[in-house]
Each structure stands twice: as C-alpha cells, then as structure tokens.
Symmetry: C2
C-alpha cells in the first residue's frame, strides 16, 4: 500500500500549467499548505484591503506580482481553499502574460520562497492520494489531455468520470463479501463448516468471468480507438495502394510511380474521419520478387496485416478479366478467413473504365467500394465504408478498456478467477483457493488504486505533462 502519510502534502509544489511557449496568458499553479502564504508575499492586489485573512476561495483578484520592488507582471490570482480544489489542498493559480521570461521569473521567485517544482503529474497524483479521484480516473486525465479524436476523448471522459471504477468496484465488492465468508470458513476450518454458499459462489464466479471477459475483449477496440484504428492497405504491386493512401490522407505522403515495387517501407499516417482516428498503413505490393529490399518489405506487409483491424484489399479493376477475377477472389478469400479482421475490397482505377463490368459487381457483394485513387473519385464512399465498419464493432459495451495496464490487470484477475473455479471443482483446500481470491482482488484493486506501489505510481504519473 502506498504510504499516504509521508512526504506528500507537506510541501508546496509549483509548475506552469499551460502549454509551454509564449501566448496571451499563462497559468502558474501552486498546491500545498503554503500556496497562499508564498503567493501573497509577492502579490500586491489592486484592492488594497485584501489580505491573506480575508481572501476568498473561488474568487479572482487583480494586481501586480512584485519582487524586490520590481513589477514582474500584472496578474490575476485565484485561490482554491482546501478541500475545494483539484488536489484537495490549498491551490493558487496565477494568470500572467504568456511571456516565457515572465513565466520563468515568477517560477524562480516562488521556488526561491520555498515552493518546490512539481514532478510531472504531481498535482493529479496529489488529487489521487487525497482521495479526490481513484487511479483509473487519474490515468484518464492524461488520456483526456492526449486525446486527438472524438472517440478517444469520449472514452477518456467516461473513464475520468468513473465509468470503469464503478464496474471494477462493483465486481470487487462482491468478491470481497465472498472472500470474507471464505476467510471465516478458514478460521473455523477444523470444525469443517461451510459458511459460503457454494451455488451462490459459482454464480458469482460465472458473473465475474463474464464481466471480466467482456471488459478484456473491449480492450482491442479501446486500444485501437486511442492509438488509431490500424488500416492496412494491401494488394498486388502497382494496383495503386500508395496513390490510395495519398488520396485518403489528402497529401503526398507516399512516393508514387508507375514502377511496380516502388513502396518498400510500410508508410503510416493517421487521419481522423468523423471522430475516429484511423492509422493507415501503405504496404509493399504482394508478389514474388528477387529484390532483397522489396522482399523484406513484403514480409513486413504480412506483419502489418496481422496487426491491422481493418484491411483494404486494393485491386486494379481496369486490368482484370474473367480469368483473373477468380484469382483475385482466391487471394482475397485467403485473408478474409481471419474473422477478427474487417475486410473492405477496393476496386481501383475506375477512371480507366467506361462502366463497371458486370462480373465484378456480382462477385463482390459486400464491403466493396469502387474508386479512382488517382482522380480522388469516390474516396468519400470509402471513408463512409470505414466509418460504417468501425460502428459495426461491438461498442454496445458502455465501459471500454483502453489502458493496457488495466487490460493486463483484468487478464490476471480472470486467470485467478478461473483458478478459483478449478480449485473448487477439484476440491482444492479452501486456504489455497483463498489465495487465488486474494490475487483476483489484488489485481482489481490495482486498477482503481486501492492497491498501489511507489513504482506503479511513478510509472503512471511520470508520463503526465508538467503542471497537471
């Protein structure tokens, strides 16, 4: 258990909370017992009657920030009296002109007067330690700041508002109730009493397994929503994959030539469509080649297909006849067997055709889009198809796990629960089963932070930005 009593809350931390660089306004934030007393030494309010005794929480005070009789800046000071603040401690926010010189100067002065520069994420760490939010909510704050798409934002917001915590706490409380019965049974083990109702227990085990499995399976979606949904663009050489990438990204990202085998490295870039972040991956064309570099590229293409959630299979429909249609279909089917992936067949080069030959229409019934990547025709149809595909994903889950730490803890918890079940089925002694229950409890506890270590906290908050 993280030691909440030592070190924290004793000192006052300070950092610039706004993005680095210069701008109209910057905000410097103090948190800790001396926030007010440090700030008030340098703040000369326009309202002369203001003192540290009559300053009110949640009010804004205009005045000068003065040190050594030099006005550093005209500032707005706001005071958040504990516990009504982000950290639950006394918080002061100094809103100054966004000059880097002024920001540094004010920081220096506050540091000289006994404040300590905040570690990355330390304000949020304090909020967590002071019970203002649990660990998964604190992690969501970082996700929220990093979110670039509506879907990532929405997941982070749900998590910050306690979506996952609620679920985990529910599962954990059920497990705790039962664990205490089991432990009681252990205390009276010599008397061979069964306090815990076995049937109720198996029902709970099943419920837990179901819930955990559902949360675990939501991670593949949650993770790709956060990182960008990987879309591999594959196909034979020279069918226009790189041109299609450029058309999707609306920029000349990949080098395009008429020479088959132009693309060797997998070229990636992200693009947000209707709030979903897609990570498009252009790959080397799939063919037998003698070129060593190209072959490495082709190998990587297979790797990328494995990682992709959506695969765009691109085909040159201007150079396809009844014979080759069969061949293309065979190749397409070879991939489509993978049920975890979503395939879209992209018939490219429609600009070279008068109208679609009937045999092509017939063959590919579903998830087929005909485009001209070169002329950027029908690209909208393709992006529509991509968004439709994402929406088909199982997002009925109200809680989506997007944090790999949570995912790992859930997988571990499930494995312990399965062992508990096996234990009961195989008449394993109750004291051994109790150990597995405690494991499961421990794993669930790490998600919301009932159970933490310094290492874990360092790991989580070290990734935050300064000032949060």
């Amino acid at each position: 258990m993280f030691n909440k009593s030592i070190g924290y809350n004793q000192d006052t931390i300070v950092a610039v909370a706004t993005p680095s660089g210069s701008g109209a306004i910057s905000v410097i934030r103090l948190s800790g017992p001396n926030s007010l007393s440090i700030c008030i030494k340098f703040f000369v309010p326009a309202n002369k009657k203001l003192t540290r005794n009559n300053i009110e929480s949640h009010k804004l005070y205009f005045g000068n920030f003065v040190s050594d009789n030099t006005i550093i800046d005209e500032v707005l000071v706001s005071y958040f009296k504990n516990p009504s603040s982000y950290t639950s401690e006394d918080v002061i926010e100094i809103s100054c002109h966004g000059s880097e010189f002024i920001q540094q100067k004010i920081l220096e002065i506050l540091l000289d007067d006994g404040a300590r520069i905040a570690e990355p994420g330390e304000f949020t760490l304090r909020a967590f330690i002071n019970g203002r939010m649990d660990l998964s909510q604190a992690e969501a704050v970082a996700d929220l700041i990093a979110s670039q798409s509506a879907s990532a934002h929405s997941m982070a917001m749900k998590q910050m508002r306690g979506g996952i915590s609620e679920k985990i706490n529910y599962l954990r409380s059920k497990l705790i109730d039962f664990a205490s019965l089991i432990e009681l049974e252990l205390d009276f083990s010599e008397e061979d009493v069964e306090f815990a109702n076995r049937e109720q227990f198996f029902n709970l085990i099943n419920e837990l397994k179901l819930e955990l499995t559902s949360l675990i399976s939501s991670f593949s979606l949650g993770n790709v929503m956060k990182q960008g949904i990987p879309v591999a663009i594959i196909g034979k050489p020279n069918v226009g994959k790189s041109t299609l990438l450029n058309a999707l990204l609306n920029e000349e990202k990949a080098i395009v030539s008429h020479i088959p085998g132009t693309t060797r490295d997998a070229i990636e870039d992200t693009f947000i469509i209707e709030g979903y972040k897609f990570r498009f991956i252009d790959t080397a064309g799939l063919r037998d080649s003698d070129d060593i570099v190209e072959n490495i590229g082709i190998e990587r293409t297979y790797e990328k297909i494995k990682q992709a959630t959506i695969v765009l299979y691109v085909c040159d429909i201007a150079n396809i006849n009844n014979g080759s249609v069969k061949e293309v279909l065979e190749e397409f089917k070879q991939y489509i067997q993978d049920e975890t992936k979503h395939f879209i067949f992209v018939g490219n080069k429609i600009d070279q055709l008068g109208r679609l030959p009937s045999h092509i229409k017939e063959i590919f019934e579903l998830d087929t889009v005909f485009v001209s990547a070169k002329r950027k025709e029908n690209i909208q149809l393709l992006t529509d198809a991509l968004v439709k595909t994402v929406k088909k994903f199982n997002i009925t889950n109200d809680v989506i796990v997007s944090n790999s730490r949570h995912y790992q803890a859930l997988v571990n918890a499930l494995s312990s629960i399965v062992q508990v079940e096996d234990g009961f089925n195989n008449d394993v002694p109750t004291d051994l089963i109790a150990i597995d229950i405690r494991h499961a409890l421990h794993e669930l506890g790490t998600i919301t932070g009932q159970i933490t270590t310094d290492d874990l906290l360092g790991n989580i908050f070290g990734k935050f930005c300064i000032g949060k």
Copy 2:
C-alpha cells in the same frame, strides 16, 4: 481618427488565450456583449442554483461544458462583468483541460453559437478602443509577451504602465495650450495682435527639443536592449574569434579550425547575461586575401562593425612581440575613433603564455581583458566587462523608447518643432507656423493613439498573438 463606434463592441469574439499545443490547462476567452449568454448555454455548473442572472463577476465556477448531451470537459468558468475586464467588455474565461481536441471542440461550439474568432491582438485592440489603455500601452503588451531578457521586460513593463504616454501627454498638452493661443492669434490676425508670449514660446520650443532629442537618443539603446545588444567579434585571422564566440555562447556554434580564414559567413547568436540580451557576431578575420568568398566575408565584417554597439577586438597575445604590438595598436585605434561604439580589447590565448609580458599590460590600459577562449579561462571577466559597458550606456533616462514607430514619430515631431523655431526666427507668417505645430501635435498623438488610422491599427495589432 479611427471610428470607434462601428463594428467593434457589437460582436463577441473568442480565441484560445494560452500558448498553442497541449498542456495541463488551456484558457478560452470570450469578449463582447454575448460572452455570458453564449457560454452559459453550454455550461452546466456543479452548483445547480447558478443562473445567468445570479452569476457574479470575478468568481470561479466549476462545472461541465456540455453540448448535445455530451460532456466535452470539466471546466472552470470565470466571468468579468464590463467594464471591470481586460477589454472593458463582458469577458468570460473558460479554463479547460489542455487537450488540443477539447480546445478545438469548445471553440467550434462557441463559434457555432454566434461568437466570432478573434483577430490577432483583437482583445487588446478592444481594450484600446474602449479607452482601457492608450496605443503605446497596447503595443507594450505585445513587447511584454515577446520579452526574453530582464532589460526588455523592464522596458515593456514601464511602457505598459504608461511611462512613455505620461511624457508624451505632458509635451503634447503644453504644445496644445500654446497652439490654441497661436490659433487665437490667427483668428485676430487682421488686428495684428500677439497673444502668444514669444519668450515663453521659445522656452517651450527649447524644452520640447531637449525632451524629444533625449527620447530619440534613448532609442538606440532601447532598440538594442529589445533586439539584443550587437557585439561584433573582430580581429586578424586565426586569433581565436570563433573559439571565443563558442566560449561566450557555451556551445559549438561556429566551426573552429587552425586554418586562418575558416569563418566566412558572419555567425550570430544571442545570449542573455545578467538580464541583458547580447547578440554576438563572429566575423571573418581581417586580412588581405585572394579567396573571393573570404573577401566577401571580410566586407561583411566591416558592415557588422558598423552595426555593432560593442566591438570586441581579439588579438593573439601569445604571438605578439614589441614590433607587432605597435601594429596591433594602430589597427585597434583605427576603429576606436568611432565614438558611438564601445570597444573592448580581448587578449586571447593566455594559455600559451607563462605570464603577461609587461609591454602588453602597459599599452592597453582600459577595457582590456585577457582570456583563453580555448580553455574557457577568464570568460567571466569578459562577460563582466560586457555588462559593465552596457551599464555605462546612458540609462539615466527613466523613459526609454524601444519602439521604432514611436522613434519615427518623435523624429518627425522634432523636425516639425525645428521648423516652427526656424519659422519664428525668419518671421514666417503665423498661419504657416501653425501648420507645423499641428504636424508636431499629430506626430505625438500617433504615439499614444489620440490619432490613429485603420491601417496603423491593423499594422500594430496584426503582429499580436491570437487570444491577446
């Protein structure tokens, strides 16, 4: 005169006021009559009793920013009721998480609801138009944000707090009083009356000339303080000029070799020492050369010497004898005749000497520093000498002009005043003299903004950052 009545104050502007990018906090600022009504539509306060009718100025309100039933973020809203705000209009500041996605989303929502994206500097322009500050103060806001050194910061702060305005207004009011007497004289010109006391008038002319000259001459200092005090490093080839630059900057900026003539382009970089920003310029060594590129470099060196405020003349004292001392002295003197420049003689390569030969000590009495650029020995002595030199500059002036627009206006005003004086001395008709007085008044008026044009305002505020 700028039309203050049309267009401005009618609409509500919005912009992100904090530096761009992501961070812990960002602030989005609204100004204009609808600030409150626009914001309140999307703000769901934690305190349910809050409405637009009981919201108080200079208070902070926590709650959710909600659009289409989606929580965009948890925000702090502060309200500054007109005229107690930066712009003198109703101002709202929304403090949200510093995610670029959230910033954009909130901006979009506010724009959709009738706010208009602010032009660069438009908040400050409104502050000016609403009489919250004059033009030179508004310009100081931009200087303050851009200030990188203590000296530039201090000049901008003085100007923002009305240092220049006070002086200009004083001169202008004196001139106005007198102009009105002159104009009165014109009204009665047929009666040949002299209302204006000629002696008093000449005293005023002299005072104005003195004050204007003093302000004008402060510009060369003010400007270099703002842009960085140019320090040219000159000397014969291979005396260690580039090594000295690197030692001063504490980085490997210039390419150093033992080959004379290595440096061709003038290499510049700024460095702040004790609050002063210096712009060091390494130059090509001065010698007769057949190398065309090197000769262009040498020509540029002479240019740089002209532009410099301080010149470091570097000499290799390890390779100097009684004969060449004279030669060095001659060359040094050749430059030192320029009285507008400050020279420091730098004897380099002391690491190659046991002790300083007495003839060297004797020759250069003042402003001489002996260093080893290579071993970074005595560099502190040199930076001390630089700071001492800057402090010797005439900074007894409490008002320093650092803005080239103000400088130009002052030069124009002085020229008009000189013409007024000449006019009186040469019995030019009073109506012609009155024109020159009006010119002088006009020029002084442009500094503080009593007289402006749209072009002028566009020019000034167009250089501001967005959100200020």
